[in-house]
C-alpha cells in the first residue's frame, strides 16, 4: 500500500531542464495516468519514481519515507516496460518468478504465486515457452504477470500497449482496468494515447515541456481544461480554436461574426475561442450563426465529420452524431452551442 508524494521534483541533464517543480500526491490505490506529447518528460518522471533515473531536485516519498536515494530494488515497485523487457533466456515461468528468485523466496511459495498469476492472465499453458515463442499479446501478459507475482506496493506502466495492434490494445486496456479493480493497488501509467488516459485513469496528469499542465479526473479535463494545451490535447477530434475578442456580452470572431455565450464573458483578455467539434452543429439558415463550404465529409456511420472552410474565420471540424446528409462542396450553416464555448487568454490560460 502506498501513498506517493512528489515535492518540487526536478530533472536536468547538464544544463538541459527536462522537468521542473513537479508537485503531485498519489493516493493509495489510485490509478494515475501521466499523459503528454513525446518529449514532455512523462517517461522520465516514471523512471525517476522507479529509481532508474537519479532525481536532480525535490523530494520523493512513499508513505512519508524519503525515497530519492533508495535503489530501485528496494522501492517495492513493479514496472511494465513498453518493450516488455522479458528476459530472452528464461522461460515464461522463470520470467514471472525472477523477482522472487532474487529475493530467495521459498520454492513452493514461488510456484503458487506464478501459478496464480498465470491463471489470472490465461498463461497457464505457456509456462515453459521462451519469450521469442510468444505473440505480442502473450508477451504483454507475461510482462504484467511478472509485475503481479511480486504483489508490489505500486505498479508502474511505461506505454505498455503501444507495441500492440489496435484490437489487442482495447482488450489489454480492459484487462488492466480489471486488474486495478481486483488488486486495488496504486498504479502509475504513462501513455501518449489520450483514449487510454481517459478510459483508465482515476486522475490524469497532463505534462508538456517539463511542466504539469493540469491534474484532474478525465471529465474535469474534458469539461474544464486549465489552458489551451490541455483543451487541445484531451478530446478527439481536436478542439477548434479561433481568434476571438470580447465585445460586451458576446464574442466577435475575426470575420466579424458574433457568437452569443451562455454566462459571463470576461471584459478583457479574451484572445481565442475554443469549441469542440461535437459542440458545433449543422443548422438551417435561420438558426445558423455563420456558414461555410464543406471541403471534406467523412461518414463514419456512428458519426459524421465535416471539415468546413469559413471565409474570414478559417477551417472548422464539425462532428455530428449519426448520418448527416451533407456532401463535399455543399454550403453548410453552423451553430455553436453557447454553453460549451471555451475562452482563452493570450498566454493560453482558460478564462471559462
Amino acid at each position: 500500500m502506498a501513498r506517493i508524494e512528489l515535492q518540487s521534483i526536478a530533472k536536468s541533464y547538464g544544463s538541459v531542464e527536462v522537468l521542473r517543480d513537479i508537485n503531485l500526491t498519489i493516493e493509495d490505490g489510485e490509478f494515475i495516468v501521466l499523459v503528454g506529447p513525446s518529449g514532455c518528460g512523462k517517461s522520465t518522471l516514471l523512471r525517476m519514481i522507479a529509481g532508474l533515473e537519479p532525481i536532480s531536485g525535490g523530494e520523493f516519498t512513499i508513505d512519508g519515507r524519503r525515497m530519492n536515494e533508495v535503489p530501485p530494488r528496494d522501492r517495492d515497485m513493479a514496472m511494465v516496460f513498453q518493450s516488455y523487457a522479458l528476459y530472452p533466456h528464461m522461460d515464461v515461468a522463470r520470467n514471472m518468478g525472477f523477482s522472487l528468485e532474487i529475493r530467495k523466496a521459498a520454492a513452493e511459495d514461488r510456484q503458487s504465486k506464478i501459478q496464480g498469476a498465470a491463471k489470472t492472465l490465461g498463461l497457464t499453458g505457456l509456462k515453459e515457452r521462451l519469450p521469442k515463442q510468444l505473440s505480442g499479446g502473450q508477451r504483454q501478459r507475461v510482462a504484467m504477470g511478472r509485475a503481479i507475482v511480486r504483489d508490489p506496493s505500486a505498479f508502474l506502466f511505461d506505454e505498455p500497449l503501444s507495441n500492440l495492434d489496435a484490437a489487442l490494445r482495447v482488450e489489454m486496456r480492459l484487462e488492466i482496468a480489471r486488474l486495478h479493480q481486483r488488486l486495488e493497488a496504486t498504479m502509475i501509467y504513462v501513455t501518449h494515447d489520450q483514449v487510454e488516459a481517459l478510459t483508465l485513469a482515476d486522475r490524469i496528469v497532463v505534462l508538456n515541456g517539463g511542466d504539469i499542465q493540469q491534474v484532474g479526473t478525465p471529465l474535469d479535463l474534458y469539461e474544464r481544461p486549465a489552458n489551451k494545451f490541455v483543451a487541445q490535447f484531451i478530446g478527439s477530434p481536436t478542439m477548434n480554436v479561433l481568434r476571438a475578442e470580447a465585445k460586451g456580452d458576446s464574442i466577435a470572431l475575426s470575420g466579424g461574426t458574433r457568437i452569443q455565450v451562455e454566462g459571463d464573458v470576461p471584459a478583457s483578455g479574451v484572445s481565442e475561442l475554443g469549441i469542440r467539434p461535437e459542440h458545433i452543429h449543422v443548422a438551417g439558415s435561420e438558426a445558423a450563426q455563420f456558414s461555410g463550404r464543406a471541403e471534406l465529409v467523412e461518414h463514419l456511420g456512428s458519426d459524421t465529420n465535416i471539415h468546413v472552410q469559413v471565409d474570414g474565420i478559417g477551417p472548422f471540424l464539425v462532428r455530428e452524431h449519426g448520418h448527416v446528409p451533407v456532401n463535399t462542396g455543399d454550403e453548410v450553416g453552423l451553430f455553436i452551442d453557447p454553453e460549451k464555448v471555451h475562452l482563452f487568454a493570450e498566454d493560453g490560460r482558460s478564462l471559462r
Binding site: P71, P72, R73, M79, F81, A85, P88, H89, S99, I102
Partner: protein, 280 residues
C-alpha cells in the same frame, strides 16, 4: 538479391569458376603445407612438385613432438594466448559495458585515447616497452607477454564488446534492477548470459591474435624455455633449414589451435552476418 533475374548459363559458369579460383587460392598453400608434412623425407626432393605424394608418413610429426622443443613452445604459446584472451575479454567486457550503458565525464576522452592506440605503429613502442620490461626484470617471462598483448588487444575488444552490449536492450537490466537485482547482479544474471556469443567471438579473436604475434615476442623473449610458438618456429627454421618435412609438420601443428578457434568463431560470424540480413 537477383533471385528474380534469370541468369544466363555463361554467367553461372563464370560465377562457379570465380568461386573455384577463390577456393583454390585460399586453400592451396595450406594443402601444400600439409602435403609436405606427410611426405617421407626421401621423397621430398624427388617429388618436390608433385600434387600428391606417392606414400604418406607421420614420422615428421613424431620427430617434431618428441625430438624438439616443440611441445614447450606449444605450451608457452597456449599459456600466453589463453591468458591474454581470458584477461582481455574480462577487461574489455567491463569497459565495453561502461561505454554502452553509462554517460560519464571523460568518456569521449577515453574513447579518443583508445582510437589513437589503433592508429599509431605498434613498433613505435617496441623500444620503450623493451626498456620498461627489462627495468622491471620481466624479460624472458610469459607474464610480460600476457600483459603487453592484453593492452594491445583491449581497445579493439572493448569496441567489439560495446557493440554486443549495444545490441541488448537497456530495458532488460532495468527490469532486473526493479525485480530486485543490483546493477552488477543484473549484469551477471541477465546481460552476460545474453552476451555469451559475443564473449566467445571476442575470446576467439584475441586468442588468434595472441597466437600469431611475433615481433614483440622476438624482442622480449630469447631464452629457449619461454619461447612462444612463432619465435620457436622461426629459430627452428634457421637452425634446421634443411629439414623441410619437420618444419612443415610443426607448421601444421601451429595451425591447429587457430583453426579450431576459427571454426568456433565462424559460427558467430556467419550468425552475426545473417541475423543482420534477416532483420533487413
Amino acid at each position: 538479391m537477383s533471385a528474380l533475374r534469370k541468369s544466363s548459363p555463361l554467367a553461372v559458369t563464370g560465377k562457379y569458376l570465380a568461386l573455384a579460383f577463390y577456393l583454390t587460392f585460399a586453400l592451396f598453400p595450406l594443402y601444400w603445407l600439409a602435403k609436405i608434412a606427410v611426405t617421407p623425407d626421401k621423397l621430398i626432393f624427388s617429388e618436390g612438385t608433385a600434387m600428391v605424394p606417392s606414400s604418406f608418413t607421420f614420422e615428421n610429426f613424431r620427430t617434431v613432438l618428441i625430438a624438439t622443443d616443440f611441445l614447450s613452445y606449444f605450451k608457452n604459446s597456449l599459456i600466453v594466448s589463453l591468458g591474454t584472451a581470458a584477461i582481455t575479454t574480462c577487461v574489455a567486457a567491463a569497459a565495453g559495458y561502461a561505454f554502452s550503458r553509462f554517460d560519464f565525464r571523460g568518456k569521449r576522452l577515453v574513447i579518443a585515447l583508445m582510437l589513437i592506440t589503433q592508429m599509431f605503429p605498434l613498433l613505435m613502442i617496441i623500444a620503450p616497452i623493451y626498456k620498461i620490461v627489462a627495468a622491471v626484470g620481466l624479460l624472458n617471462s610469459l607474464t610480460s607477454l600476457i600483459i603487453v598483448y592484453t593492452a594491445f588487444n583491449v581497445p579493439f575488444a572493448t569496441f567489439l564488446m560495446q557493440s554486443f552490449f549495444d545490441g541488448i536492450p537497456k530495458d532488460l537490466e532495468e527490469a532486473g534492477m526493479i525485480d530486485g537485482c543490483t546493477r552488477f547482479e543484473a549484469l551477471r544474471k541477465i546481460i552476460l548470459p545474453l552476451t555469451l556469443p559475443g564473449l566467445g567471438a571476442t575470446l576467439g579473436f584475441i586468442f588468434t591474435a595472441a597466437w600469431s604475434e611475433l615481433l614483440f615476442a622476438l624482442m622480449l623473449i630469447n631464452s629457449n624455455d619461454t619461447m612462444t610458438f612463432p619465435v620457436g618456429l622461426l629459430t627452428f627454421v634457421s637452425k634446421f633449414s634443411v629439414d623441410w618435412g619437420q618444419m612443415m609438420a610443426a607448421g601444421v601443428l601451429a595451425l591447429v589451435p587457430s583453426c579450431l578457434f576459427f571454426i568456433f568463431i565462424q559460427r558467430y560470424l556467419v550468425q552475426g552476418l545473417t541475423s543482420g540480413a534477416v532483420k533487413g
